[in-house]
Symmetry: D3
Subunit: 181 residues, 6 copies
């Protein structure tokens, strides 16, 4: 609540990759603590959001340990989407420890925080064509190499969750919207 400067990092981590890790380390160079928001927590089992929020939390924790990042400096907070973009930042504030700087490259997220008057940090670009979760999910479906884009512990966890099998199954569905049946 006091003293400690905290950076906020918003992502969906579908799945976490080397690009995310770079950012987390960069933020911990700037700030004393980091709040990692696992966005769209309600989503799973879709091509854009294959992993459940529980699986994503396990992956994040696993990477933090593997990278020897001090867990005492990290908060991991899953947040479900809000019905209104215009209230999502207020919802995030209610779910998180207070924070000082927001790190994100997603244009909508960036804009929402900007309009609320938050200070926005810059994230170094790091081979965004490669280290991109959409590209990684595409490779999983197409049986191309995705393992080199994520840390070893994530390869193991994706396999434990049968993430590739799940994505391939979902890719055969012609559902466009969010209907379940």
């Amino acid at each position: 609540m006091a003293g400690k400067k905290r950076g906020l990092f918003v992502g969906r981590f579908q799945p976490i990759h080397y690009g995310h890790i770079k950012v987390i380390k960069k933020i911990l160079e700037e700030d004393e603590e980091i709040v990692i928001v696992v966005g769209s927590a309600q989503s799973s089992h879709s091509l854009d959001n294959p992993f459940t929020v529980g699986e994503r939390i396990v992956m994040l924790r696993s990477v933090l340990k593997e990278e020897r990042i001090d867990l005492a400096k990290c908060y991991i907070v899953p947040i479900p989407d809000a019905e209104m973009h215009a209230v999502w930042v207020a919802k995030l504030i209610a779910y998180c420890p207070s924070f000082d700087t927001v790190y994100t490259n997603e244009p909508l997220t960036r804009r929402l925080f900007e309009e609320m008057g938050f200070s926005l940090g810059t994230i170094p670009l790091f081979h965004r064509d490669l280290y991109d979760a959409t590209e990684i999910r595409r490779r999983m479906v197409e049986d191309e190499d995705w393992r080199s884009l994520v840390p070893p512990c994530i390869v193991d966890l994706v396999e434990a969750f049968d993430g590739v099998g799940r994505l391939k199954a979902l890719s055969k569905s012609d559902k466009r919207g969010g209907s379940n049946a």
Copy 2:
């Protein structure tokens, strides 16, 4: 609750067609009772889901009678979508009589039940290019023959509900999402 083996059949029935009827009969050869889930119950008045759930229930009941299927062996249960794919099966379980085997060819639905440990039955393929609700709705909009793909009572009911008129009206809307206005 006991004894009777029940099969679960999940569909949206927009509208019901000869392919669905084949499956229902096939399940009743394997199991003593069938639970027919009318999925996305909240949806209507869209190109993918033109009919209300009430209209779909009337169509199902009408077909069961026309085909002389014993109503005492059939449960028809409308279920609205869940906010989270990951909880939809739990919601369905709360809405339905207990069941033993799940019949569906929809990849997402199949995967969700598989991950919950359910036994999945196989559905015989039956001219899926023809007996497909998406194709039937396309034909309704394009004024092509759709009547030969559904039972006679469904032709009558679609006309009573002015289903073709509704679909054609909706096809002129440029709404993409689910907004009402």
Copy 3:
């Protein structure tokens, strides 16, 4: 869609009792078909709504068979509550086959249909002090006689669902609202 006169009966059936059965029989004397709405479908595991909607559907079907009521004349439609009382009737209309007369003694339900211009049928009072689901649930918690107030098949099903055990467990909770944790 046409011809057949249908009566609508709205209840929560927590659990179904002899009073409900009287009403169902009465309606089938007046109308050719009955639509039995299982209201508050989303509710279960509370003192007012101990049974899931699936359990309530099984109980209803079981009673209809035991009473030799023609299933071809009965629709059972579970409907979750609406966010707004003022739109609940519209939601019910979307979920149900069309109907002509509404049967209910619940003052709010009655008022909502009245304001929408529906015709309301009268339900004969039948020992409402005894044949009352609130009283039956109270007796279940207090270990008093409830078995005489429901048909034999319901006694069996309540026991199969461990309904009394569930109610007693819930009665020890001091939760007032709808929170889960």
Copy 4:
């Protein structure tokens, strides 16, 4: 957007009474424009919220005309409740023209705006025991005098909406929660 100082007045107006009118006039002495928020817009047909939001808007407009208050200075904005108290103010901000001072005596509402850093105006107390919507609704149910507590046009509108009949009907319901059936 600029220049004009606006006061925000939050109420549910179930129904509007002389106390509300005093406050509206007081705010228009302090500020150039007033935003009148009709809260709990989704609620109606309950003992605490008998009138629909449409009926409440009609009542407000009618009073403003009767009191010769300049409509060009008044915004009337209905706002449904938010799932989270902590985001309700953000939702209200998204629904309303920008405002400078908040007027409310409701402790929760007051606290929510205070924590968001808003300036809170003071509302003169004006016979709160009498000019109180809860008291007015109680008198409607008990057939005591309520007409003297609201302006003449509200007496007419409550009668046009059959508000007393609706409240009396609802008072016979034993529903505690928000269930519809």
Copy 5:
């Protein structure tokens, strides 16, 4: 409630343009009062719905004043979308003063009111290729002329809200669905 004939005009006003104003004036020639529904009230910060409902209400009020339209004849009512198309009209009825004729060219909206038995007025076509909010938003993103398609006060308000900056920021997002993160 009585006497006054009211027309209902449904739009999203993202943003309001000369086409809308024509319709409002046309309706006020036919009817004594107009109810202007600001639809999809919950939406903002997306390419289809950039402006918050509060911003849209301010724009509408500003145009009505600029055009010297009598505010005493106009109700502006923001309405959030409903979960079910089939209940949206019932929700709108609960939010609005009663009305007699519905004016809209949107095929889905038109159909929903038609099925509820409402009388539908005709809206004169007025250069729909130009006076179209989708076209205006496209021009804002592409830095083409949009100012000539909206009244002067709207140019000012869009600039005060930084509407073009917001739209351009959102156009860089690759979010398809409604997720916030």
Copy 6:
């Protein structure tokens, strides 16, 4: 995912007290890791749930540090309530790392996990009359001693959040339901 035995502890932590800490330590004697679920995450600013979920997470983390509990063994997962009790456990499973044993004394929570077939651990009773969050909140409102029932860091945080001021403000509200206005 494998090997490590995890215990699940469900609470609302409004606020965390010595009783909770006892349980956390007890679970970490039995299991290698603990998943601490912060339930009713959406709730705050009410007499039963005064603190936001973000404040509760900060309090939990602070206590874990003060008590020198290894953070690498603890997951803190906020979970909003589900619309249906019957799907809440499925929602929790989607939000959490997998777990083996569930620890809770709340009768409803206990029953929901039991019906899903989970193994339930026993929690030692520890002066439940004193170490009870309801009692602590009551003392806060009544200006009685509450500081002795929570760890020193919680006293500091409650003061930093002005928790007592908030509770006292809320205690003056006569709102019963969840309405915001």
